[in-house]
Amino acid sequence: MALVARGLAVARGGVPLLEGVGFALEAGQALVLRGPNGCGKTTLLRVMAGLQPALAGEVTAPPDAIAYAAHADGIKATLSVTENLRFWSDIYGSGGVDAALERMNLRALAGRAAQNLSAGQKRRLGLARLLVTGRPIWVLDEPTVSLDADSVALFGEVMRAHLAGGGMALMATHIDLGLPEALVLDLRPFKARLPEPGSGGFDEAFL
């Protein structure tokens, strides 16, 4: 099992951001994407998650293996923590939510409505969703935003256990998760160049 990207080019709003991005992830490996704001990390992750098409190149992944977590956690304010998680575990057809609650330290908050959680607690709930999906490849966009130091360490442990169990992770993050073994890919060299004027592309007049 492997997650492979070859010659990926991605665009946001019709403007090419990255081109020629390639990497391969084996079971147990994590890859951290780095690059300045706006360089296309989020767009690349959305392409990997299958939410938008790539301009060029291809992604090879095992079927039904990717779990995606974006900036927004998709938490419903009026549902309780358990209800929020149980919904996703039903959708993914995985087992119960107890283990996930336990591992993200949400046990004490289980019955509380999500609107009464702090930002960091909400983030933990969002990350607990990854555990109930039961999927091996995590595609994460800034997973540690608004987490305190303890929670970052907690998530680091969860991540390490996930990798040790043969999982994979592809993430964009600026914070060190305490994963020295993680591979790092700097996206700056892959910045898309504009096509030369007059190169005769079919829809050249538009770009």
């Binding site: 709003g13 019709g14 898309a192 504009l194 829809d203 538009f206 770009l207």
Partner: protein, 243 residues
């Protein structure tokens, strides 16, 4: 033999319409002028309707183009969805306001004609109602174009709306005919005996229809050129931001 799809290339389209647009535009002016002047001044008054009948030379061509514009948008939307030619999506966008105005002209001339004939400006007649509904569909389509920033997203969404809207517009037309039997005469050019229009009217009417078709074509070509230039400007601005 060059493929017709070559004209879907914006550059090729611009180069071709550089000379084609003036030709079509002048042709449209001449043909419409001939049709309308002949129709207004050189046809006999109708024995029942008097000279009011002459508004037919505006009413029928505009109503025809109102429907044809939507059909053209439908075809262009399909081409965009299937073959992803930008010019096609932009042509659909350019056709919409023309179709909207044609619908409006059809409705207004209809009201002006209906007042002396039926004694009322408006009637909830199936034909009139269908046209009013078509007007609403044009409004919605244009509003959706205007509301979305990203041009490709806007093209995709409006194309799907055009497809779905066409189905519902047809259903609405059927519903309107089901709902009310009308005052409106049958299609003026139908072959049904009794309502047939004499050749003295038919000839200038056909010329007017051709003229309106040419006006539509000229406006759509001009509109598409404007849209292509707008896209080009957007692309250049984006290029500048990136550099």
């Amino acid at each position: 033999m060059a493929s017709i799809w070559e004209y879907a290339n914006p550059l090729k389209f611009m180069r071709t319409t550089d000379w084609l647009l003036p030709v079509v535009a002048w042709l449209a002016v001449v043909v419409t002028a001939v049709g309308l002047i002949w129709g207004f001044f050189f046809t006999p008054d109708d024995f029942r309707q008097g000279s009011t009948v002459k508004i037919i030379f505006l009413h029928v061509p505009s109503a025809l183009m109102a429907i044809n514009a939507w059909i053209m948008m439908l075809v262009a939307s399909l081409i965009w969805l299937v073959r992803r030619h930008h010019v096609s999506a932009l042509a659909a966008k350019a056709a919409a306001p023309v179709g909207l105005v044609m619908t409006l002209i059809g409705l207004i001339t209809g009201a002006v004609w209906g007042q002396p004939m039926w004694g009322t400006w408006w009637a909830w007649d199936p034909r009139l109602t269908s046209f009013l509904i078509l007007f609403l569909f044009y409004l919605g389509y244009l509003a959706l174009w205007g509301a979305i920033d990203d041009p490709d997203t806007a093209a995709d969404l409006t194309a799907v709306l055009c497809l779905v809207g066409s189905v519902f517009a047809l259903l609405s037309r059927y519903a309107a005919f089901f709902w009310s039997q009308g005052l409106h005469q049958g299609a003026s050019l139908s072959l049904a005996p009794g309502t047939r229009v004499d050749w003295a009217y038919k000839a200038p009417l056909y010329i007017s229809m051709t003229g309106f078709g040419l006006i539509f074509l000229a406006l759509v070509l001009a509109g598409t050129r404007t849209e292509i230039r707008a896209r080009r400007m957007k692309a250049l601005a984006a290029r500048e931001r990136m550099a």
